[in-house]
Symmetry: D2
Subunit: 394 residues, 4 copies
Amino acid sequence: MLGTGLIGDFYTGALHAQRSRDRVRVVYSRTDERGSAFSQRWDIPEHTTDLVAAVTHPETDVVVVGIPNHLHVEAVEAAVAAGKAVLVTKPLGRNAEEARLILETVERAGVFGGYLEDLCYTPKALKAMAAVEAGAVGDVTWVRSRETHPGPHSAWFWDGRLTGGGAIIDLGCHCIEVIRGFVGKGNRPVEVMCHTDTLVHPIADEDNAIALIRFESGAIGQFEVSWTFRGGMDLRDEIAGTEGTIWINHFLRTGLEIFTAGGAQGYVAEKAETNAGWLFPLGDELSELGFVDMFTDMFDAMEAGREPRETLYDGYIVNAVMDACYRSAKSRAWEPVETFEWRGSETPRIGTAPEMVDGKVVIKRELLPDGRQRLIVKDPGTGDFADLIVVAGD
Amino acid sequence: MLGTGLIGDFYTGALHAQRSRDRVRVVYSRTDERGSAFSQRWDIPEHTTDLVAAVTHPETDVVVVGIPNHLHVEAVEAAVAAGKAVLVTKPLGRNAEEARLILETVERAGVFGGYLEDLCYTPKALKAMAAVEAGAVGDVTWVRSRETHPGPHSAWFWDGRLTGGGAIIDLGCHCIEVIRGFVGKGNRPVEVMCHTDTLVHPIADEDNAIALIRFESGAIGQFEVSWTFRGGMDLRDEIAGTEGTIWINHFLRTGLEIFTAGGAQGYVAEKAETNAGWLFPLGDELSELGFVDMFTDMFDAMEAGREPRETLYDGYIVNAVMDACYRSAKSRAWEPVETFEWRGSETPRIGTAPEMVDGKVVIKRELLPDGRQRLIVKDPGTGDFADLIVVAGD
Amino acid sequence: MLGTGLIGDFYTGALHAQRSRDRVRVVYSRTDERGSAFSQRWDIPEHTTDLVAAVTHPETDVVVVGIPNHLHVEAVEAAVAAGKAVLVTKPLGRNAEEARLILETVERAGVFGGYLEDLCYTPKALKAMAAVEAGAVGDVTWVRSRETHPGPHSAWFWDGRLTGGGAIIDLGCHCIEVIRGFVGKGNRPVEVMCHTDTLVHPIADEDNAIALIRFESGAIGQFEVSWTFRGGMDLRDEIAGTEGTIWINHFLRTGLEIFTAGGAQGYVAEKAETNAGWLFPLGDELSELGFVDMFTDMFDAMEAGREPRETLYDGYIVNAVMDACYRSAKSRAWEPVETFEWRGSETPRIGTAPEMVDGKVVIKRELLPDGRQRLIVKDPGTGDFADLIVVAGD
Amino acid sequence: MLGTGLIGDFYTGALHAQRSRDRVRVVYSRTDERGSAFSQRWDIPEHTTDLVAAVTHPETDVVVVGIPNHLHVEAVEAAVAAGKAVLVTKPLGRNAEEARLILETVERAGVFGGYLEDLCYTPKALKAMAAVEAGAVGDVTWVRSRETHPGPHSAWFWDGRLTGGGAIIDLGCHCIEVIRGFVGKGNRPVEVMCHTDTLVHPIADEDNAIALIRFESGAIGQFEVSWTFRGGMDLRDEIAGTEGTIWINHFLRTGLEIFTAGGAQGYVAEKAETNAGWLFPLGDELSELGFVDMFTDMFDAMEAGREPRETLYDGYIVNAVMDACYRSAKSRAWEPVETFEWRGSETPRIGTAPEMVDGKVVIKRELLPDGRQRLIVKDPGTGDFADLIVVAGD
């Protein structure tokens, strides 16, 4: 385990969760103090401030990279040099160039690699993606993915020199990959329109952004990220399809609601901004935010000799989309998503041949209270529209 | 009352609601059959197919224009010629040019005019706007307004020649004015970025669109409209501010939830797509969708000799923003909102001087479980970020 | 208007709401100071501390009794003596004896009377009751009605000598009548089991209670009332039927959610216990809590010469049920509901002849993923149960 | 693993979940066909129809009893005879006598025993119980636990001769133990009032029941169970305390909402009654319903030589409470909970000395919009109540 920040805690918590057979054996931290505290907190046999020592440790089978973005390339190179499997936290790199370097380093060495994108592994996302694949919503037309909170907990997240950007690089990477999971990973992201602004915090990078991603099928991915949201963590996905709709709420309204007058000294729900009033905690954050299923897939894939659901190539595509976002925010225009190689398929345009009734194009069918249906039809010759009432079945 | 469609029903229902002292006296319809049915349904003394006869009727004090968009100019000119007050449904015109014509016709004549934008008058919107004005969310940074459903009930809505466009002209006009209500009507809409597509229905106009409106303060208005949403009517507003958040759900989750196995013949909840399963009806649609409060404001304003909350000028601005949306969707770039005259004020940029502690810029404060606070601070010289733990109050 | 407390404000707000043609002309208060403030607040021409003067005032057509429970009998007698119509707030009396006295006083005089039970008139309740009547949930089997908050705002509510009890007399009266609205008013309440306790407040009367009401059809009404609930006002109804379910949430989750960091001086949402954090206000309390529809029905009924939905006899039945509750809480056993006269009908027991398949009683049908159905059947001879898989339609 | 029904699937799914180190080695089924299918489905090395062979198998360390209620005693005796640890599904026995027999059999033999009550181990329940223990809601005054659905999937559940009762024995056992978890397990259940009825299904046992459990502290546990609920599975807990409130929704509104027009052949969400319309599936049922955390606690406890959170004694108490429920339903009166031994503590009555201001008892404090507080006070001499406005802090 490389890294002892919040993400290190989440990862180790998930790796050790329940009756897991996996264990963190060595933890690397840049300071001895934090490494020591972390290894005690999680009952880890060894800790070190020497990254190479950690990855070459004989009991290390897999290197989990959970350190700041600007250190990913170096850490991956060290792990690969030691011949170890490597799992890298999000975002893969500070930009597509770094991500490609990581991808190619791992692929050239032939070691197992995985992209630690937990939000594609939440039980709700997995269930919803299965429903989409089963056809429950028809063709996906639009996916909105939103992640907003009042800003990161650690100082380095705010320094664009170390991270590669602001709220997009921190949160947008999640949203982009969630969107890809719903529109289909083989569905090529063609171009991007993005708006960014720094509305509240006195920083150089964006604290708010929205972007549209146009996929080859015509489907739109829309992501919204913010470091200025008030009220906790707002983490929602909304999927629209030709035959259905899916709404996922990961955080603020999940069926656990606590009102407290605040008498409990020191009791603060995680991610809440207050210690009194209505609070909306998660039941089991590690499971509900996807960390547990993510590591299960990674280790099962490694043992089975297959690819994980989230590959380093996926991480590279996410960086490529984010690069396009930053270009678009600057040019204020749609920008193409540029990739050195497209490994997906070609995806036909959404939509089917229109239904015809009596030589008219059917625009819409509606159920009436008496059981009949109202059709709105268009005369293809004149372009005129009209109503048509039919008994159901016609 | 000009018009006997769904909107005519809503308007008359609201005008006659509860113990109202107001009554519709004459209704105009293009066909005698519908005029007759409508006047019976609502107990209206007279109906006619002669628009001029309706507006010049001696008992007509106020002309309510609820007919298709392409007939607004003509109807308003007739009403004004008769010296009557005139209330016009949304959108005011098919474009800003028509809207300006209506506005100037009414203003030149000096009669009372009002813009019938019901969604700015919903009890939830009024309460939320009051909360914003009281400072409950600080400075508004972002407003998302969303209106989506499976497509309009009447044929003419689908004909862009008659309406001026597709889902934007039908639904976007609501969203734009709701957004203005939250960012402040004096806050100038500067420019617009819009994406439209026709993803499902075999029509020439857009059935899906999203737009960003940048206001002078830096606040962003984001609207999402669709004629392809499945599951009923999704009508939500989300307001983000520097000190708070507001979420409004007008339709699908308002505290009335019915599961029915479907045994009730002919029982279908309005706007639902099914007659079995979980349904989410409104309690009192006329009140909750704003129609009642809207007419109260219009008539009270007229009697008091003041302007209503929603003026014809507001309707004109909405058309001007929609014109910019259509230009942007074509140019695929940000387009300025062009108005012949700006009646609002100048609005300073959101944001205040950053807080300083020990010569460092404070980026964020967080409450820790032990009651202390963690500060994330930035050194203005080096640009480096660091953590700082302080006891509360420091 | 007799009374200038919170209920007087609600009633007058509703009577004057929107474009109402009705107006309060005279208000009676026990103190001149409150009468004066009230009449200014609501723009009422006259106020007085002389109850008889108020009811006999020539412009008084209807007397609205909104004063404490122990004064209802006297107020009604004065109104009836003056030959005026009389509308009485809930509960009708401190007990069934007082309620019967009021009922008989009004009926003997032949004046119009109505029972001001607002929660049976909420738009959600009206819509839900219509759905039940249309058969959307089949036979009603169980109704849970719950009203809880941290305790009343006015001192006299806490004095059982003046009110007739505690949380039951204050809140249970609402629940009982809501339950009757769903199980059917002709469905006789046969017996009651009630538990009360004083868990938090240092008072002599109950601050928590639950009761079961068994109706002639076998349906159960369950009410829960509390003066010790934390987090605002919890006002929910849940209706179970053989073919469906209805959930009504009147207060805390109705689609308007505000998070505020609390910067707004003096801004407190009504019924909220805090002025920061997540708040859940109503859009239009007067409408959503039923006051507007209630007075519309009362005045329309009076003008049409028909009975209102909520009659004084209904108020009497509610008191009779509450009397049985208090008896049951003391005896710790089921107690019969005693009425001097039953004006409803006889209601047969819920339930139909069981479905038979191949000589077996069908207990349950379930839809399987493959479209077939699983039947659970019982052999009427042996009493043994078994599974049976059939294709749908069989 | 004894048993191959739905519960066997849940248990095995949880035991094998994620990266678990535990595995089912032998499964016992009463029929070879089901044993074979089950062992294939879960990749279990051996299956048998010989219960003794299963429990004495050399690789069996722990016997999980997941067979019908009337077979528990026999299965536990076999497991104990083989000297194996034994985990028993809910309810422990068909009545307290059987439960005591199981408890004493295990304790006499000195083997490890555990009570498989999954709903006390849901992540939400664990988080909520921790919040209660931290004082977030003050003293617990009332706990409502509700489990209702349209009736069990397997035939034997409907046969009271095999189960010991109806909906109470099936579902009430969950609710009772959840309630104990919130009021405190050391808090003695003193007496019970219960109402049962058979409203819909043609069976001899109850398909609906409600019960009140009075605990020594004065807290009330209220459970509601039904086999006639329509709309899916309604599984909610509501905890009221002197300083707060907790609402837990385990099933129908947990942040995953799917609308489907039904085009997906064969796609049915578990527990849903329809295959179209709005569906509310769980993300990860095994985790969210507590099965994963339950087995983690059981195995960790066994390895650590400590008691699990849910002991066989807890199972015995649950049976004792259910026995009292059935007695009460018959006698229609409160019935004492009879236990052969109480292993909990003595719990003082809820409540503290009342707050006094100026010789008056303070009944309630309210925050006013202007920041002041309104106190409702009682004169202990006269019993009269009055208002008092004070500035905050007084």
